[in-house]
């Protein structure tokens, strides 16, 4: 059986890659994809711990997270569409006009 630490390391790795993507990439769609990585790293943790502890609570939590994340992405993409109607660009630096 694969030891628990491998799963946790995978989760941590995904989280860091996702965080780096959100911070460094300038394309909104890539930022949204990186966000998914961050959220799914938590899911990997939940499911790995749940299996390791023999407790179903973590898997239930992961299902909730998947559902809510789907809604979140739907809302984010809808907002992105309204942004694109006014200004046809996916670069975050060009969308930002408010300062201070």
């Amino acid at each position: 059986m694969v030891p628990l630490s491998w799963y946790v390391a995978l989760g941590a790795g995904l989280f860091v890659i996702g965080a780096a993507g959100v911070l460094l990439r300038r394309n909104v769609l890539v930022v949204l994809m990186s966000l998914e990585l961050m959220l799914n790293s938590a899911n990997i943790n939940f499911i790995a711990f749940s299996r390791f502890l023999g407790d179903l609570g973590g898997q239930v939590f992961a299902i909730f997270v998947i559902t809510v994340t789907a809604c979140e992405v739907a809302v984010a993409l809808a907002i992105l569409v309204t942004v694109l109607r006014n200004k046809a660009t996916l670069e975050v630096d060009e969308i930002a006009i408010m300062k201070g």
Binding site: G11, L35, E72
Partner: protein, 483 residues
């Protein structure tokens, strides 16, 4: 789970059920053309809020656990539910005329407001990390959409996009912390979590990481530094009524979660989160007070002012104990009245082509509208914390709790920074009373908005006159187990 427990759970969550059912009905009603019917929609949603308020009031008293330890109705939850219900009712009162002026006449506005309210009420009652997360996201998703409600305005679009991305990042950080805590304790229910932590002791270094991640995720929701960057942009871009809503409602609900998680469930590991919260509180207070000084847009200035207020309330968490927590609860109640009042006056300025968002636009208001100027003066004095308004007592009880716990240096810093903050509130008072008006005032004052302003003014003055009574109410609502 037998039938009796299911019925008891449904009864305990009746206010939330009323709001969600009402919101779904309103969604159907909003199929009729909305133009010119904003008062009808506002009236219907007010009726839903009133019904939920009655149910909340009827449920007050005994502690009612529900849904297998996921949800509880206790004095703490009822207190916060009353705050968020009142906030939503006042925002609904402010909305119809503003939506007409902004050409946003859509019934979905009120539906989303009600869903956000349901999310906030779940947050106040949630005692399991799962229900906390679901309530938080229900609130957040509704507010993301409301922020971007002005679809043809690129500032509103930008605000919504920033909010949804940064909000999702903070949720991800919070969830990652939760997943680590789950791995370390095997529990998501807050009381089991506390039991597991006090049994094993704070031995694992992973716990430091987990707790810091959870603090980070939640601190974002109240808009505290260094995760405050979204606040000014989102507050400026969102419709003003929604800015008013999210500056008080979601903030109060997020504080309810923070108070349930940190002083209660994670009290064993307070040597991890207490230093973090202390630094965050002082940083937030400093940044909010100083950056607000240079703002020219009133919504942006109030955004920084709300950052400073969040910092002040977080100081109550540093003080801790029953006094600190009751102090935060009273602070949030008072802050809701005075901040909605001042935002009500920003809403009334919006008419025709005139945005009224510039601070200079208030010059000479006292000449033509002395009553309104006096009301604004009360709100601004209260925000600045000048006695005998309620804002003074809000700050006073937090400071008293800090001093009682021996944090004298923090109390001195807080007082000095409040003096800095007083400057930018008093600048508006000076503009209203000392300057000549540049143009004649044409205000979008409707009877519902007048009512909202009157209620906010009454709250601000009333709590200022009877602070001890309200403090006792907050004290009585603090959950047991806090010494």
């Amino acid at each position: 789970m037998n039938t009796d427990m299911i019925i008891a759970s449904i009864v305990a969550s009746l206010p939330e059920i009323i709001i969600i059912a009402g919101a779904c009905l309103l969604l159907l009603v909003s199929l009729i053309p909305a133009r010119g019917r904003m008062v009808l929609f506002a009236g219907l949603s007010l009726a839903v809020v009133a019904a939920a308020a009655i149910a909340t009031y009827a449920l007050a008293g005994p502690v009612r656990p529900a849904y297998g330890g996921m949800f509880v109705v206790d004095g703490f939850a009822v207190f916060f539910k009353i705050v968020v219900l009142m906030v939503t009712a006042l925002v609904i009162l402010m909305s119809p005329k503003y939506l007409e002026e902004e050409d946003l006449e859509r019934g979905e506005y009120f539906v989303l407001l009600l869903f956000a309210l349901a999310g906030m009420m779940i947050m106040t009652s949630a005692i399991d990390l799962v229900s906390i997360y679901v309530g938080l996201e229900l609130m957040a998703l509704s507010v993301y959409v409301l922020t971007g409600f002005m679809r043809h305005d690129s500032r509103s679009n930008e605000a919504a996009l920033k909010y949804v991305i940064l909000g999702a990042v903070s949720s991800a950080i919070f969830l990652y912390g939760v997943s680590l805590v789950y791995g370390l304790t095997g529990a998501t229910q807050l009381s089991e979590l506390a039991a597991a932590l006090s049994r094993d002791g704070p031995s694992d270094p992973m716990l430091v990481l987990a707790v810091v991640f959870m603090v980070t995720g939640l601190v974002f929701k109240v808009g505290a530094a260094p995760l405050h960057m979204w606040v000014p942009d989102v507050y400026e871009g969102a419709p003003t009524t929604i800015t008013a809503f999210m500056s008080v409602g979601p903030k109060a609900a997020a504080f309810a979660i923070i108070l349930r998680i940190f002083p209660e469930a994670l009290t064993v590991v307070d040597d991890i989160w207490l230093p973090v919260v202390t630094v965050v509180a002082v940083l937030t207070l400093t940044l909010g007070s100083f950056v607000a000084l240079v703002q020219t847009n009133i919504k942006r200035m109030l955004a920084y002012s709300s950052i400073a207020h969040a910092g002040f309330a977080l100081l109550g968490l540093v003080a801790g104990g029953q006094d600190g927590i009751a102090g935060i609860m009273l602070y949030l109640l008072i802050y809701a009245f005075m901040n909605l009042g001042i935002f009500g006056t920003v809403v009334m300025m919006r008419k025709g082509d005139f945005s009224g968002e510039n601070i200079e636009d208030y010059a000479g208001l006292a000449k033509s509208h002395p009553g309104l100027a006096l009301l604004m003066l009360i709100f601004l004095f209260s925000l600045a914390g000048i006695p005998p308004t309620a804002g003074f007592f809000a700050k006073f009880y937090i400071l008293a709790a800090l001093v009682a716990q021996g944090h004298v240096a923090l109390a001195v810093i807080a007082v000095l920074l409040s003096a800095v903050a007083a400057y930018f509130y008093l600048r508006i008072v000076m503009l209203m009373y000392m300057k000549e008006p540049a143009r004649s005032f044409d205000l979008a004052l409707t009877p519902p908005l007048r009512l909202a302003l009157a209620v906010a003014g009454l709250g601000t003055v009333g709590i200022g006159l009877l602070p001890a009574w309200f403090l006792d109410m907050a004290r009585g609502a603090v959950f047991p187990g806090i010494g």
